[in-house]
């Protein structure tokens, strides 16, 4: 599995940078709200000192707001921590639901982001031996690209289904795919190919699909080049 370390190239570093920047932006917003609300409490104290009556509700709203923002900050730091640790082991067994959940949370820090609805898996746990970091990058780019082209009002539905026993099929739907049929871009294609993920573009059903192999052990020995098949001939072509 040492060969897996070679999977991390400049593009994945760029992804790491992009996500880190969006997290820092989120934390700055949190700090700005806490700073302004604390400042407002100071202003209200000054007013009270001059004998001006201050409504208790106003003080309560300020303290509630500060507590909520601190919780938001903690939650962001938790996501940041999960993300940072995703490079600890290049290839590991992951629960795809957890990987998707983290990626959705990370993508929500972008101003272009809309809503996402991740359907629960019933009767199975989608475990795959893969590179969690690169898988996150592929999911993230898919969400970002979709929201960028459909607008923040979109709600993307995501579901996971088992296929023939060799892969998990992840479907992204709920948007008009014909508006941006050029997805995936070259970088996402290359990232997907490096861990054997096949991306399907089905413009007739307005869906993006991904087949994530249950294991990438064979790919560690025989790496593959990127190729994006259509949904129709998916069974005969592997990226």
């Amino acid at each position: 599995m040492d060969n897996a370390k070679e999977l991390f190239g400049y593009d994945s570093l760029a992804f790491f940078g992009k996500v880190s920047a969006s997290i820092s932006h989120e934390l700055k917003n949190v700090m700005a709200i806490i700073s302004e609300t604390a400042g407002l409490l100071g202003d209200l104290s000054d007013m009270a000192a001059t004998g001006k009556p201050i409504a208790p509700d106003m003080l309560r709203n300020c303290t509630d707001s500060i507590v909520e923002e601190i919780q938001r900050g903690f939650s962001t730091i938790r996501q940041m921590n999960r993300f940072a640790h995703s490079v600890d082991t290049p290839v590991v067994s992951v629960n795809l639901m957890e990987t998707l959940d983290l990626t959705i949370n990370l993508s929500e820090y972008l101003s272009t982001s809309g809503k996402t609805d991740l359907s629960p898996c019933e009767g199975f746990t989608p475990i795959a031996l893969t590179c969690p970091f690169l898988l996150q990058a592929i999911f993230y780019e898919t969400l970002v690209y979709t929201f960028k082209h459909t607008g923040p009002g979109t709600e993307i539905s995501i579901s996971i289904q088992p296929t023939d026993g060799s892969a998990w099929r992840i479907t992204f739907s709920g948007f008009n795919f014909s508006e941006f049929h050029v997805f995936p871009d070259v970088i996402t294609k290359a990232l997907a190919a490096s861990i054997g993920v096949i991306i399907y573009a089905d413009s007739t059903a307005d869906q993006l699909g991904m087949d994530v192999p249950i294991t990438i052990e064979s790919l560690m020995v025989h790496p593959v080049s990127p190729d994006i098949p259509n949904m129709g001939n998916a069974s005969s072509t592997r990226a």
């Binding site: 700090m31 709200i33 302004e36 400042g39 407002l40 001059t50 001006k52 707001s65 101003s111 923040p152």
Partner: protein
């Protein structure tokens, strides 16, 4: 409580809590504050408004801060705009300056610095208006030498159209 000479401010940010806290603080300082949580609402408010200064967050869903800056500067000759961002880069600072932003502040910033920037922006707006009025007066004086009273009124109307 300090009182300013009722400077009319349009505050634009998609972070509702931030908007609420900062508008309260500026109101306590005596500013007349109107808020908008997205770019389109900000443009609508400015069209109704008559604001002296706008404080606009750069990153917002939909119509972003740079687009708001561009549209407000195009439609409102004298408005001054302060850009706020949680993600300052040299490129975005240069872009905002080129589009006519008065100042570019990074979050979290010092509140007193914002207040100071608002006053400076207001002074700059007054100066611009003064210079524009001066030019108008000079133009009217020149025209009055060659025009009938009715012709003079027509030319003045044309001048006012240009100033909008």
């Amino acid at each position: 409580m300090e009182t300013e000479n009722t400077i009319k401010i349009l505050l634009v940010d998609d972070e509702v809590k931030f908007l609420k806290a900062i508008s309260e603080r500026l109101s306590i300082k005596g500013f007349d504050v109107t808020t908008a949580t997205n770019g389109d609402d900000a443009i609508d408010a400015a069209n109704k408004g008559g604001f002296d200064v706008a404080v606009v967050d750069l990153q917002m869903p939909g119509t972003d801060g740079a687009q708001v800056l561009k549209i407000l500067k195009k439609n409102h000759q004298f408005i001054e705009i302060i850009m706020l961002t949680g993600h300052a880069t040299v490129d975005s600072a240069v872009e905002c300056t080129k589009l006519g932003a008065f100042k570019y502040l990074e979050k979290p910033y010092d509140f007193d610095k914002l207040v100071e920037s608002l006053k400076e922006a207001y002074q700059a707006r007054l100066q611009k208006k003064f210079e524009s009025n001066l030019k108008r007066m000079e133009a009217i004086q020149k025209m009055s030498l060659h025009q009938s009273p009715l012709g003079l009124l027509r030319e003045m109307a044309k001048l006012d159209d240009k100033r909008k």
